[in-house]
């Protein structure tokens, strides 16, 4: 059943460029990249129970690193992508040490503050980052330069990333994260070094967010300070919550929905943030477990 669904999704994704104009293929690419970003955050929020409001830090660090290496150091674009992801993981390894000293709302505030530090650097260091002008003209790798090829490349990379994430949450490690979300004291009493598990999850989530960020840099052919901004972190949180935290599928759906909504609504109004806020309120009131939660309530799995 699950295999059938996965095959169907894959078939649709492969067939998509044949039925759609380039504009929509490009929009679909964005959905897919942001789906990976949302899924990476779900590992923290939905599984480990860690609400981070600074996940854009890793998305942005990787995007900036990739763009800078390609533009300024003239590195190979593939190597730049890998380096970006590695730097995101490294940033996660350092930030995790600081943020995981706190929990709950304090964890949220620290992750927010740490992300804003990077935002401040990107904003202030004009000679390196271009400040609020950002870094334009980031060239894609040659083989995936055109829209459709880049789309398939994204499907492949995000598909592999999602596959790894699905494996992680089904592993004993993933079960341990759920246990920590439910009761950290009980996990400690059972002999789990809860901090280590949370730390590993934090670094992993950073790496996957970084992968999404570097893809996004190539997708947009541009990197700007909004990549690191708190709104991007909040948007990712909303994608996770809207779709259903702790399901991976939900946040991917949530990402697609938010991208569609943003695209439709921005044709009528500039007040996207207001709409985003309204969506958040409606979802928490009507579907606290997200869209996937809503579906599971309506059609519960057999026992």
């Amino acid at each position: 059943m699950k295999l059938v669904a996965a095959a169907a999704v894959l078939a649709v994704l492969i067939a998509l460029p044949f039925g759609l104009s380039e504009y929509y293929v490009s929009l679909a690419t964005r959905m897919i990249i942001l789906a990976l970003f949302a899924m990476s955050l779900d590992l923290l929020l939905g599984y480990a129970g860690l609400a981070s409001l600074g996940h854009a830090a890793f998305f942005g660090v990787s995007a900036y690193a990739t763009a800078l290496l390609v533009l300024r150091a003239e590195w190979n674009p593939w190597l730049s992508l890998v380096a970006g992801v590695a730097l995101a993981a490294l940033t996660g390894a350092v930030y995790g040490l600081l943020a995981l000293r706190a929990r709950g709302t304090y964890f949220l505030m620290i992750t927010l503050a740490l992300a804003q530090v990077l935002w401040g650097i990107a904003f202030g260091w004009r000679t390196m980052t271009g400040g609020d002008d950002g870094l334009p003209n980031v060239p894609r790798p040659d083989v995936v330069a055109d829209t459709v090829r880049f789309y398939y490349f994204t499907v492949l990379i995000v598909g592999l990333g999602a596959l790894v994430l699905f494996r992680i949450v089904r592993s004993p490690f993933g079960y341990a994260l759920r246990g920590i979300r439910e009761s950290e004291t009980r996990m400690l009493a059972l002999g789990y070094d809860a901090w280590l598990y949370k730390y590993l999850a934090f670094v992993l989530a950073s790496a996957f967010a970084g992968l999404a960020g570097s893809l996004y840099a190539y997708y947009n052919k541009f990197v700007g300070i909004d990549y690191l901004h708190v709104v991007r972190s909040a948007e990712a949180l909303l994608m996770v919550i809207l779709g259903g935290a702790g399901t991976l599928v939900g946040p991917a759906l949530g990402a697609a929905l938010i991208v569609i909504l943003e695209n439709v609504i921005s044709a009528y109004t500039q007040r996207w943030l207001l709409v985003l806020g309204a969506i958040y309120v409606v979802v928490t009131l009507l579907a606290p477990r997200g869209l996937v939660g809503l579906v599971l309530e309506k059609w519960p799995r057999s026992k």
């Binding site: 790894v164 494996r167 992680i168 089904r170 592993s171 004993p172 490690f173 993933g174 079960y175 341990a176 759920r178 246990g179 439910e182 009761s183 004291t185 009980r186 996990m187 400690l188 009493a189 059972l190 002999g191 789990y192 070094d193 809860a194 280590l196 598990y197 590993l200 026992k303």
Partner: protein, 246 residues
């Protein structure tokens, strides 16, 4: 060698002495019950042994190894298991998943990331065995928060015994249970392997007298009496402070 040796343990919170100079030795396989009125320091002493809190002074030894300053998870790996006074389970996971986490911890497979949990058949077998032992087999696929309170207390015990601990700490295992449920839990504790050393806090005197080899009475952070049930029943000081008899 003593299973548990607490020497001269004290715990201060600010200006309050919760536990003052407590020494306690449990032989292997011994079943000891801690009693005492509210605020006597039972739970604090428990926390210092389990690692939820670190003693201000004194030491805790588990089979000769000093665990006074170890974090709780390291104590668990050294063979100490516990239940909680307020039910502490993984409420949104299934009964099987709850037990699986306990079993996986004991098997020490580490943070395995890419192999699915399902591939560890032996863990599922062990979990099913435990659930059968604790009379929860029919509830295996239920979400824990949908279990009755009594069943949750039983599951607490199942989790605590999953790793075949050497020392088991039970914090009021029968608190809030009906008479029938209490009888069931007591008989289950009775049926635990005799080589598990047991230290439990219990408010129900009947339960305490039934399960204990020896009883330790705590009052205002100090041990005021220790002995078998006859000695404790006959102790005038215990009767005065604990049972309120003049």
């Amino acid at each position: 060698m003593a299973a548990l040796e607490v020497s001269r343990l004290a715990k201060r919170y600010g200006g309050v002495d919760a536990v003052v100079d407590v020494s306690l030795t449990l032989g292997q396989g011994e079943r000891r019950v801690l009693i005492g009125p509210n605020g006597a320091g039972k739970t604090t002493l428990f926390h210092c042994i389990a690692g939820a809190q670190i003693a201000t002074s004194g030491s805790v030894k588990l089979f000769g190894a000093d665990i006074t300053r170890l974090p709780p998870y390291a104590r668990a790996r050294a063979g100490l298991a516990r239940t909680f006074q307020i039910t502490n389970l993984f409420a949104n996971l299934s009964v099987t998943e709850n037990v699986l986490l306990a079993v996986a911890a004991a098997q020490d497979i580490g943070p395995a990331m890419l192999r699915p949990m399902r591939a560890y058949r032996s863990l599922y077998d062990r979990a099913a065995q435990l659930l059968a032992d604790w009379g929860l087999a029919e509830r295996a696929s239920r979400t824990v928060r949908h279990l009755s309170y009594g069943e949750q207390r039983q599951l607490e015990l199942a989790l605590a015994t999953a790793g075949s601990p050497k020392l088991l700490l039970l914090d009021e295992p029968t608190a809030g249970l009906s008479a029938a449920e209490t009888a069931r839990v007591v008989s289950m504790i009775h049926a635990l392997p005799r080589d598990i050393t047991l230290l439990m806090i219990e408010h129900d005197m009947d339960v305490a007298f039934e399960l204990a080899d020896r009883i330790t009475v705590l009052h205002q952070g100090r041990i005021v009496a220790e002995g078998d049930r006859e000695a404790i029943k006959a102790d005038a000081q215990v009767a005065e402070i604990y049972l309120g008899v003049e």
